[in-house]
């Protein structure tokens, strides 16, 4: 069964025909070819598929595509500048070596973006809590935490 939805994806308003059975993750990857968002566990435990929906981090694998109607969705592709330049947070992931295999990275960047938006001065514990819905199986957590912390520091000192 197809339904028509209207939503904004990475700043672009669009009208889409989606299957009621598909997840937002399916929609982003298969219909819009935004393959930066990854499918990890598929059951909302690993956070690899996290996207921003109206500014909140949510797992797109357990979010029906039809629910996107009227929503503002930002995937990892929408966090970079119009010229493709990295956001300050992404640049810090690079600079701090917070990327190993890279599969969890889009989800971490999305959740960290939401975290810093809500709380520009997070403590170490608040960063851990804000990223607790994202798993890195290379277990490179410390450098990820460092990247988020330095982004907050840099924004404060700007």
């Amino acid at each position: 069964m197809l339904k028509t939805i209207n939503c904004t994806v990475n700043g672009r308003a669009m009208e889409l025909q989606v299957d009621v059975r598909e997840s937002l993750l399916d929609m982003l990857r298969n219909r819009l070819h935004l393959t930066g968002t990854k499918q990890g566990c598929g059951v909302g435990e690993c956070g690899a598929c996290a996207v921003l929906i109206d500014g909140e981090t949510l797992d797109s694998c357990i979010y029906l595509a039809v629910w996107a109607d009227g929503k503002d969705i930002v995937s990892i592709e929408g966090l970079t500048g119009a010229d493709g330049s990295l956001s300050d947070l992404q640049q810090n992931f690079v600079d701090k070596g917070a990327v190993q295999c890279g599969f969890c990275t889009p989800g971490f960047v999305v959740s960290a973006t939401a975290l810093l938006e809500k709380n520009p001065n997070p403590s170490k514990d608040e960063i851990r809590r804000g990223l607790s819905g994202n798993l890195c199986r290379c277990t490179g957590y410390q450098k990820i935490l460092d990247a988020v912390e330095s982004t907050a520091d840099q924004r404060r000192n700007k």
């Binding site: 069964m1 059975r21 997840s23 909302g44 979010y63 939401a114 809590r129 819905g133």
Partner: protein, 290 residues
């Protein structure tokens, strides 16, 4: 792709009830953090359903105080919304903490307190605190509205007293069950996030000086449904708060519990937690250390 037959987005309570009552194959879906997982697992009863979305029904959202000072929590209020709500933080911080202990941010941003209860799991983080406050579950169906105490709402593991076509609209917490009480929730789990409680314990305590006027102790995972330690509660009335008495209360709590072995923890370990956690929770609620 999920194995779903159809999807209907309800925009009013009536629309949802009419659809649910008129379609044998219907299934309510709120945040989807339980329903979609079960659908993905192809759990029996959760595939090929006609899902009814209720997240866009405005009356089911938000937290308010009624004219009598009771707290009304809309069933589709998310864990994050409950955790951060001013009314909840001011009056029942233990419920804020309980909702803040669920899963991780992504789950809390969409999972709902109504779903947590309607799902009937003994481990539901919000449930033990709602038990400790004798929350009232408000339902609406084709036959009208009805209310029932949360302890009657839970019938068994995964089973709740909701009829076909009924929708949980609100969770009501009466003023007398939180005013002048201090509360605390302890989720004992292997990890700090993305974990299910090995045991959950929520207490509400009212004191005069060093004496307990009233104590309410509720558990998750200490039985097939959340439970209250009514024996210990009765005994605690009027007791002086001393280490010995807290030990007695902890021991007495076992009388209402029926912990069991699971891969998460042994029965013996759970029984130790049943003894220990209310003591810690009482101390923390009353401003003591731990």
């Amino acid at each position: 792709m999920y194995q779903i037959n159809g999807y209907f987005e309800a925009s009013t309570i009536k629309e949802a009830i009419d659809y649910l009552a008129g379609n044998e194959n219907s299934q309510v879906i709120a945040g989807g953090t339980d329903v979609l997982i079960k659908t993905r697992e192809r759990k029996s009863g959760y595939t090929d359903k006609d899902l009814v979305g209720i997240m866009r029904i405005p009356e089911l959202k938000g937290i308010n105080l009624d004219d009598d000072g009771n707290i009304l929590i809309g069933s589709t209020t998310t864990f994050t919304e409950v955790e951060e709500d001013e009314i909840i933080l001011r009056n029942i911080p233990s419920l804020s903490a309980a909702c803040g202990s669920v899963g991780g941010p992504q789950i809390r941003n969409i999972g709902t307190i109504g779903g947590n209860v309607a799902n009937g799991a003994t481990s539901a983080d919000s449930a033990s605190t709602l038990f400790a406050m004798d929350a009232v579950i408000c339902l609406e169906g084709p036959e009208g509205k009805r209310e029932m105490p949360i302890k009657e709402f839970y019938l068994g593991p995964g089973k709740v007293a909701m009829n076909k076509g009924e929708l949980m609209t609100q969770i009501k917490i009466l003023k007398e069950n939180f005013m002048c009480f201090k509360g605390h929730y302890i989720k004992f789990s292997q990890r700090k996030a993305m974990d299910i409680a090995t045991l959950g314990c929520s207490i509400m305590v009212k004191t005069t000086g060093n004496k307990i006027d009233e104590l309410k102790v509720a558990y998750g995972v200490a039985g097939p449904t959340p439970i209250r330690a009514t024996e210990a509660e009765a005994m605690a009335k009027g007791m002086e708060i001393t280490a010995e008495n807290l030990d007695l209360i902890g021991e007495k709590c076992l009388e209402n519990a029926s912990a069991r072995d699971s891969w998460r923890a042994s029965k013996a370990f759970r029984q130790q937690l049943i003894r220990e956690l209310p003591k810690r929770a009482i101390k923390i609620a009353l401003g003591g250390g731990e």
